[in-house]
């Protein structure tokens, strides 16, 4: 029989609940219970819930209940300690399937046959066994490919805000992502935490349209699902991803959305335990906890598969210094920032390349990977766009007349950069070459001696002036 994590197996049963507080159960007179043990809770109405031991002593145990404690009472609720850690069944049969937030199929199809059962917490990859990620992924989106290249095995989050089109961007990346010169497609693991069913449906429909659904595993905890289960969802998804990548050689792309909801669930547990809070009420161990999710990406020497992570988080108040984006940024290998101001001006995708960053880009671009001029072009575009943006602020105060001809050119550059380079259609899939050529078209509007970030031999080879005809296809 197929088991979700709600494994049915013999265990020790107690009916000695002393107190129920928020998502926590306090069970007394327990004996020989293991820390972290998986617990089944049978409610008075006979329904079953899942839980985990958070703290244990000789005569009591503290349990967090993933589905919440609504409807539980102290007298009739049964608590069954299973003696096992939380495990999830893994199998390649999971491809094309839809699971709930703790790994149980909900698509009405027959249960897949598990190849193995794995602890949802995984184990840290030995840093000595890692291989540094170097293969660039072409997402077809210039703002990412040209300026913040994603690499296979990287963890690169989208930092967004409410009402911004991060879902569109993520869907476009899932649809378009390839590694030039490598035919194998990505396998997708989609983990939803507290997003609406509309949002989930949008992703699933888009994957269905492109045919990618056949190589996708969906793990869904939606907005109306239990909040504490969100602590489990990304772990279930990543356990499946690790199996696909490291046992079956797949290249896996994991989409985690929305990590903000995950962090809220974490805070809820911490508050219920009356822990000393860190910043803004989030627990002091949130960094370590988030790391135990984000660090489950990468590649391992001697194994073919990879895990690339794309977490999405919505920044409360668009505030990047909020603990959730802040701690995430310290763990992930860069961030892609979705910008409200660009969005308001009708630019899609509204990616602000300046605060965005891909830490693994430096090793993933250049000759033999993307193109030899990539670094120079990208550095120069950055510089010029930053210059243009800061001049915009100045213009707001002193007016355009006060600017020198040089400054005016940079101002125009920034406008064209947003319209021609950043902006593109939801279905427009640009190659690295196309992206870089658009970059050159824009740089060609600046005097050549301003192009200090590009080595002179690269200018001689790639500048439109020396390449004869005008290249690229700026719209």
């Amino acid at each position: 029989m197929y088991r979700g994590v709600n494994v049915v197996r013999a265990g020790k049963m107690y009916k000695t609940i002393e107190s129920i507080q928020g998502p926590l159960l306090f069970v007394k007179r327990t004996h020989d219970i293991a820390f972290g043990e998986y617990v089944r809770i049978v409610a008075p109405d006979g329904s079953e819930r899942r839980g985990q031991v958070l703290e244990v002593a000789q005569n009591y145990a503290l349990i967090q209940v993933f589905e919440g404690t609504e409807g539980l009472n102290a007298a009739d609720t049964k608590v069954i300690f299973t003696g096992e850690t939380l495990e999830v069944p893994v199998s390649t049969d999971l491809l094309g399937r839809i699971l709930d937030g703790s790994g149980h199929p909900i698509d009405g199809l027959p249960d897949p046959i598990p190849e193995d059962f794995r602890d949802v917490n995984g184990a840290p990859i030995n840093p000595y066994c890692r291989e540094y990620p170097r293969e660039p992924i072409q997402t077809g989106i210039s703002a990412i490919d040209g300026m913040n290249t994603l690499v296979r095995g990287q963890k690169l989050p989208l930092f967004s805000g409410f009402g911004l089109p991060h879902n569109l961007i993520a869907a476009q990346i899932l649809r378009q992502a390839t590694v030039p010169g490598k035919p194998e497609a990505f396998v997708i693991v989609f983990a939803a935490m507290g997003i609406t069913s509309d949002e989930a449906r949008f992703f699933i429909e888009d994957l269905r349209k492109s045919g990618a659904i056949e190589r996708t595993v969906c793990v869904l905890n939606l907005a109306d699902d239990p909040a504490i289960e969100r602590l489990l969802t990304p772990r279930v998804a990543l356990t499946i991803a690790e199996h696909l990548a490291f046992d079956h050689d797949f290249h896996v792309m994991v989409l985690l959305t929305d990590m903000t909801n995950y962090a809220e669930a974490l805070r809820q547990i911490s508050a219920a335990r009356e822990e000393v809070p860190g910043r803004r009420g989030y627990p002091g161990y949130m960094y370590s906890d988030l790391a135990s999710i984000y660090e489950r990406a990468g590649r391992i020497r001697g194994r073919k598969g990879t895990i690339t992570q794309m977490p999405i988080l919505t920044m409360p108040h668009d505030d990047i210094t909020h603990p959730i984006p802040d701690l995430t940024g310290y763990i992930t290998e860069g961030q892609i920032i979705i910008d409200r101001e660009l969005h308001k001006r009708g630019i899609y995708p509204p990616i602000n390349v300046l605060p965005s960053l891909s830490r693994l880009m430096k090793e993933g671009i250049g000759k033999g990977l993307t193109r030899e001029d990539h670094r120079g072009v990208s550095d120069q575009l950055y510089y010029a766009y930053a210059e243009g943006r800061s001049l915009r602020e100045l213009v707001a105060i002193v007016g355009e007349e006060a600017l020198s001809p040089r400054d005016r050119r940079y101002l125009e550059f920034a406008d064209r950069f947003e319209k021609e380079f950043v902006s593109q259609d939801f279905y427009e899939n640009r190659t690295f070459e196309e992206t870089l050529d658009i970059g050159w078209d824009l740089l060609a509007m600046l005097p050549e001696e301003e192009l200090k970030r590009i080595p002179s031999d690269i200018i001689k080879k790639w500048h439109p002036k020396y390449r004869g005809s005008k290249v690229g296809s700026s719209s």
């Binding site: 219970i33 293991a34 995984g122 000595y128 790391a291």
Partner: protein, 593 residues
């Protein structure tokens, strides 16, 4: 007799136990049936609280706890260099050999290769009197590092026997010493030292030599002394880790201890892949031959993260005692502080600011205090030093948070990383207005004698131009650039030149990644030379735009790329060209600097 207690309570990495008689603070213990490694952090009557260095899932109340009687210690001896350890000094390659690519628990691994035979040259003979710290034998640990085996702590006396064998393992007896009490002790190449206790030395010495890093903004503006302490705080994406990697690569120390404390796994991989290939500019040998790595990444157990800092500095002290200049990079001390906070909160201690324990300041100060220049123990003392560079990751990039503030109280050099600069891709993103060094007086003599007579004047001049620029930019922001006089416009342009052509340095450019200090000074001198002429030209009414579009400015901007063997000649030519191009505009050559 084995001392055994019993687990009573488990909450994350913190375990309580009773019945462990004679338990001492910071005693190392083995926890549970799997004998996980732990350390006692609280003793209350019959009950002890233990922090466990491995994951505790599956532990049960009632399981045993074994006391080892020893403090948590580092194992010191030949074979440390080139190793990569976890926070409690288990070699990661050994763990991989034992359990595969993923780290599981309860793995035993000896820190040093026990059967490797070292060719040892004995420096003492029977009858010699020796004391703690005296060198009894040396062995070539790597091509460039001679490992000096010293009389271990607490031992002195007369050599009564010398092992004549040439090749010895770390466990073989090298000499036997008869102590004044008449006891004969066997000395081998390895000994243990409790990580939380600073190793002893004779006395502290004032720092007099800079740690040259090959990074222009550090070497010329905000230098650190050998034996000095520096902090490098910055929000994410400001380049802390790249900076730490740069220092680990290019700093002119003999030994580098690099602690990846609660950071990304891939960053350690990067070091592991790159360092064996990169050559030390001074010795031409692979950098790995002087490097020891300690990797306790963010997803590894939090208590071991807390210990990693101490393991690292103890190893650094050991090499310092041999008479080496050691540089230690800790990335990031904030993660260490967070580990302290996590443990403290599990102990239900009264929290201080932002939930950090009240003793955070003391812990930070104690750690940095283990840096310095010292005269070592021994009858023929040596001089050794430890320089410490600690990265700080302030939440929200806010420098007013407790870890940054408590660190700034003890360090002498502050490299403030700036998010704004990073967004503009100005790297290293060290803010020149906020950063400082307090080693100016201590290193003055060295710079004037060994680098350039006027070194500190160039520095002062350049910094004051940058300060002036900041002022002028304020004005421009309010009233626009038209309000500036030509002289002021010239300052804006020359400051831009200092920023872009001097301060910006690419860690990824083959040549620019390492800039010899001599070249740094020549570059700055050239820009100031240009400035002098430009001011004259402005006086003569020549437009600032025209001055800064002279052909020579392109050459100035490419000085950083000049190869090591030709830069001197090429920069001299650039200076001549400055003279020539200005004299063509009717500005006479300025004499003197």
């Amino acid at each position: 007799m084995e001392r055994i207690g019993k687990i009573t309570e488990i909450s994350g990495p913190v375990v309580k136990a009773v019945g462990l008689h004679g338990a001492k603070m910071y005693e190392a213990v083995r926890v549970g049936e799997e004998e996980l490694i732990g350390e006692i952090i609280l003793v209350r009557g019959n009950e002890v609280t233990i922090q466990v260095y491995e994951r505790t899932e599956g532990l049960r109340p009632g399981e045993k706890v074994i006391g080892t009687g020893e403090m948590l210690s580092a194992t010191l001896g030949p074979g440390l260099i080139g190793m990569i350890y976890d926070g409690i000094q288990r070699p990661l390659p050994e763990i991989a050999k034992a359990v595969g690519d993923f780290i599981s628990r309860g793995v035993e691994a000896t820190p040093l290769p026990m059967d490797k035979k070292w060719k040892m040259k004995k420096l003492v003979k029977v009858g010699d009197r020796v004391e703690e710290g005296d060198i009894i034998a040396v062995t070539q640990e790597t091509k460039t590092i001679e490992h000096r085996i010293m009389v271990p702590p607490g031992i002195r006396g007369k050599i009564v026997e010398v092992n004549e064998e040439d090749k010895l393992t770390v466990k073989d007896t090298i000499v036997k010493i008869k102590t004044p009490e008449g006891k004969v002790v066997e000395i081998c190449a390895v000994h243990k030292w409790p990580v939380r206790r600073p190793r002893r030395f004779k006395r502290r010495l004032p720092p007099t030599t800079p740690l040259i890093t090959g990074q222009r903004i550090i070497d010329v503006f905000f230098f650190i002394a050998k034996g000095g302490v520096a902090a490098i705080p910055g929000g994410f994406g400001t380049g802390k880790t790249v900076m730490q990697h740069q220092l680990a690569q290019w700093a002119d120390a003999d030994i580098i201890v690099y602690i990846g404390c609660g950071e990304r796994g891939n960053e350690m991989t990067e070091v592991l892949e790159r360092f064996p290939e990169l050559k030390d500019p001074r010795t031409g040998r692979p950098l790995m031959e002087r490097t020891i790595l300690i990797a306790n990444t963010s997803n590894m157990p939090v208590a071991a993260r807390e210990a990693s800092i101490y393991t690292g500095i103890t190893i650094a002290e050991y090499y310092r005692d041999m008479g080496y200049d050691v540089a230690l990079m800790a990335d990031s001390t904030s993660r260490w502080a967070e580990a302290l906070r996590e443990i403290s909160s599990r102990l239900e201690e009264m929290p201080g600011e932002e939930g950090y324990p009240a003793y955070l300041a003391a812990k930070i100060a104690e750690f940095y205090e283990r840096a310095g220049v010292v005269e070592t123990l021994g009858s023929k003392p040596r001089v050794g030093s430890i320089s410490v560079v600690g990265a700080v990751s302030p939440q929200g990039g806010d420098f007013s948070e407790p870890v940054t503030q408590n660190t700034l109280r003890v360090v002498k050099v502050f490299w403030a990383l700036d998010t704004e600069l990073a967004y503009r891709r100005h790297f290293p993103a060290i803010n020149w207005m906020r950063s400082y060094t307090l080693y100016t007086e201590a290193l003055k003599k060295y710079f004037e004698e060994k680098v350039d007579r006027n070194f500190l004047e160039y520095r002062k001049k350049a910094l004051s131009l940058l300060a002036k620029e900041a002022e002028l930019l304020e004005i421009v922001r309010v009233v626009g650039p038209d309000a500036l006089s030509p002289r002021e416009k010239e300052i804006l342009e020359i400051a831009r030149m200092i920023r872009e052509d001097f301060l910006m340095q690419s860690a990824f450019h083959e040549i620019d990644t390492y800039c010899p200090i001599k070249k740094s000074v020549l570059m700055l001198k050239t820009i100031l030379h240009f400035h002098k002429h430009a001011m004259e030209a402005v006086k003569k009414g020549i437009g600032v735009d025209k001055i800064f579009s002279l052909p020579v400015t392109v050459k100035i901007s490419r000085m950083k790329e000049l190869p090591y063997d030709v830069y001197e000649k090429e920069i001299a030519l650039i200076n001549e060209e400055i003279d020539k191009e200005f004299s063509e505009m009717g500005v006479p050559t300025c004499i003197g600097e």
